[in-house]
Symmetry: C2
Subunit: 545 residues, 2 copies
């Protein structure tokens, strides 16, 4: 890439990163089509090499859709309450939309068509979309070296799966946050690649914990080489919801330079940076998100790409949260050596993202909206998720008495504003002779879709031996089942422990991940009412037993 005029950026010394490639990855053959592309074909060459069906055999003369206006959502979270309109309004046609159409054959030299998007083609995807993605990365992430490249994949799950096979040999370990996305672990485990948990603090992965793990690596004790690949969710850390700023990213990057580690940055929540939660009693005074479009991008915590001068970051972007999960499309941004191997893997697995998706998303982004309008759309989503985060945390706090303090000690809460929740005044747990102490603690997320709640079961008697041996034997699972039976389905925290040690570190604690991504705001409030009520009831019953 050479599209930036602002500054001279170094070329990543990508060839020197070649030793990170896995044995499996090195065995992928270069596409035979590569050789054919070197041929100079005269104009009008008749192509009878591949098995492309004639576009007249595609059973659609055109496809299209009603695309929403990019400014459909307000920029102020206070104006952006999803419950205000709800489902009914949308049925009544208050949406502002325009019709987009992709015809079978292109209507001009640089136009989208089904003949292109629904045909076989390179694993780099439809060219128009590829250009858009490059422009987007340059504008939003501004990678810190010159020869970066992008490559479409079919979502970050595919992206991480390909990264593991490209970078890791069996028996190797990968660095991850203590609590992490379970699918990332499930992804790599069959290839005998397991996580090493790195301690967390107020910004997600802790730099000192990382240095500690790497500096004191004992190959014999660990049974594996020092890890050379990191999996990290630096924004909207899944499940804990922290946001990592630029200074921490620089620190971690330098440690990765020192120990020669590749950073795989899985960043699906990047545009859902909701900022600090302010309790509803003080919120009216705050309008931190009322920013101009240009300021929106600048206000976001920069990507690792912005500090990467050696090409050691593989960034995973997805359209799952910004368009729809069913897009099954996203993209890598990385150095050209890794990108070439990832492209070869794409050719022999998923080929290219679905052409129906590429056509519709491509037409929307490149023709209907354009880059500025897409950024406006993302800005609107940020406000929506901020209103959602606020509604969920408001509802959660409403169910308890609470206090706010700043985390201390060695826990991942260090330095963070921690809400501690106690029995609600007037509840039976409140009125007990022997007062019930802290029931919950949590840090309101600054990004993402989830609130991560710690439940303090320490004061409860141990779980009695269940009558049915199949029944759960721990507080976390028992309370989770109780909540589900009461009509609230959330995620048990145990899913998110990167290792068994992390899961078992504090036996008295349980965790839940609660999503605020879906449904009208009053549903989030109702959900938290159930939560508060059932937590109280669970304590009561456990103490009574």
């Amino acid at each position: 890439m050479s599209s930036s005029n602002e500054k001279a950026r170094p070329n990543a010394n990508a060839v020197e990163l070649g030793h990170h490639l896995s044995e499996l990855s090195k065995k992928r053959t270069t596409s035979p089509l590569k050789g054919m592309q070197k041929l100079i074909l005269p104009p009008g060459t008749i192509k009878m090499a591949g098995g492309q069906p004639d576009p007249l055999y595609f059973p659609f003369a055109s496809i299209g859709g009603e695309a929403m206006a990019p400014d459909s959502y307000a920029l102020q979270p206070t104006d952006a309450k999803p419950s205000k309109r709800g489902w009914f309004d949308w049925f009544m046609g208050k949406e502002r939309t325009t019709t987009i159409t992709i015809p079978r054959f292109p209507t001009g030299p640089n136009e989208m068509s089904l003949a292109d998007s629904l045909q076989y083609g390179p694993a780099t995807g439809v060219a128009l979309l590829q250009t858009f993605i490059n422009d987007f990365v340059e504008r939003v992430y501004a990678p810190n070296y010159e020869n970066w490249t992008t490559l479409v994949h079919v979502g970050n799950t595919d992206g991480w799966s390909r990264a593991v096979q490209t970078l890791c040999n069996p028996g190797e370990l990968i660095l991850t946050e203590e609590w992490t996305y379970p699918s990332a672990v499930a992804n790599s485990a069959p290839y005998d690649v397991k996580p090493v948990a790195v301690g967390m603090d107020s910004e997600g992965m802790s730099a000192s914990a990382l240095e500690d793990v790497l500096a004191n690596w004992d190959e014999t004790e660990r049974g594996a080489k020092r890890p050379h690949v990191m999996y990290t969710v630096p924004v909207g850390q899944n499940p804990c919801g922290m946001t990592m700023g630029i200074e921490r990213k620089k620190e971690i990057y330098e440690i990765c330079v020192k120990y020669d580690v590749i950073i795989v940055e899985d960043d699906p929540y990047y545009f859902l940076q909701e900022g600090t939660y302010i309790h509803k009693t003080d919120r009216a005074a705050s309008s931190s998100l009322n920013k101009e479009n240009k300021d929106f991008v600048r206000s976001l915590a920069p990507s690792y790409l912005a500090v990467d001068y050696q090409g050691r970051v593989v960034r995973l972007d997805t359209f799952s949260k910004t368009i729809a999960p069913g897009s099954r499309m996203g993209f890598f941004t990385c150095n050209p050596v890794f990108a070439e191997r990832l492209e070869r893997q794409g050719e022999t697995t998923v080929q290219r993202p679905c052409g129906f998706g590429q056509a519709l998303i491509g037409q929307l982004l490149t023709k209907q909206w354009g880059l500025d309008a897409y950024i406006r759309w993302l800005h609107g989503l940020q406000a929506q998720y901020t209103a959602r985060r606020d509604a969920l945390v408001d509802g959660l706090l409403d169910g308890f008495e609470f206090s706010l303090s700043y985390g201390d000690g060695a826990s991942y809460l260090k330095g963070l504003p921690v809400y501690s929740c106690f029995p609600k005044k007037g509840s039976r747990a409140y009125k007990r002779e022997k007062q019930v102490g802290r029931m919950l603690s949590f840090v309101a997320p600054t990004s993402g879709m989830f609130v991560w709640v710690t439940v303090h079961f320490e004061g409860l008697p141990p779980v009695p031996e269940p009558e049915d041996p199949e029944d759960p034997r721990d507080h976390e699972t028992r309370l989770w089942v109780r909540l589900a039976s009461a009509g609230l389905l959330i995620s048990p925290g145990a899913f998110f422990a990167s290792t068994a040690e992390v899961r078992e570190k504090k036996p008295g604690e349980g965790h839940y991940r609660i999503a605020f991504s879906m449904g009208p705001l009053d549903e989030l409030t109702r959900g938290m009412k159930i939560f508060g009520k059932e937590v109280h009831a669970y304590y009561e019953e456990s103490l009574r037993a």
Copy 2:
């Protein structure tokens, strides 16, 4: 599955096939969602477990398209000439289409919606489409055991890639036809899984050649265990174009029972069964394809599923040739033990096929067309490809003098009607003092998209040492480059050799695979004019040199 009332079919003893699962596959974790699904949730449960974005954040209020009428294409190949109308007619709007629309929210209990298809969901895909696929498999392939199952994938390349990882351990070998689809080999090679070439004859893979390989397997000599997995393209064999009938499939299946081999049937060309080529001078009398819709399905060579009573077939179907390559969607049909592992792999790689594609294809197939209409569409495609095959072979023969004979000896041509091509009367090659012998031989394909041509370079002097060491040193590549420079791009045969031994078996022979899938018929004719002319010129120049 229990949808057939016709006969009692056995249950595949699928558990006994568990020993075919690879070590890698066994390590895939069962989805934690499985446990959650066992919970009995009260109606109206609020779901805050997963990170599903609200459907109101999908930027499309609806998507849709102009869908072609399922009987757009004539059933008689003689009426089905794509050149008759050409591109211009289509621009002029002669297509019969109806508008299909998929709204954001479902309009009824069993209706397609973006809220469903664009959302996260199980790797089994959208339920409506899953039901359609099951009905389709029952109707068209009628599997020979009861508890078969289907599972969507993102195209047969993904399907085969997943099958390799599910069934093969590193160092194992897979049985394939001598000449095979190169991507299938490129797919498995990085996992240290390589092909063993099995000889071919008039129906594709030879049963006796297979028995020979398996019965005489010498583990020491071969350096690997006897293969337990076969990759085969039984219809429209790629690249050679044969069609395997039911008797041969039974024979091969029984050998696979005897030696405990799993058959992976990659069958993208199943509906492009064009039948025997009849030279244009005799063609008018023939109307073999004028069949009723019901007869169309019965007239097709049955799938391996129809002979599978033990669940040892993994069938790969794709919409790439029947809807569009950009569908990136297809499906497995196999026993439930393999299907469960393949589904787990889907969850941690591609998740589910693209929702835009699922919505549009799903609405077209399940709501707009239905099963009968889709079969009518496939029947129309069969006629189209038959007209294309005929046009290509006609054009090819027009460039030469030719004779028809039946293949003998041990070659893969045994029993097949072989066209041998000689210099055209009046050409300089024809007039040479020392007569030039057979230049080409080929068997007209009975299925698929390709003609596989053998070029007899035996009579030519060896290729002279090239001035530029980068230039090709063999006749096949030299003639291929010459054809490309003259405006005809075809595929060199060397791409399709399953092993180096196959490629080098007959040094005097070269091969090309010529596709007739695209462009109007007169373009196919023009392509073959270039072919005939350049082959003559190449012979002339080589003999003169």
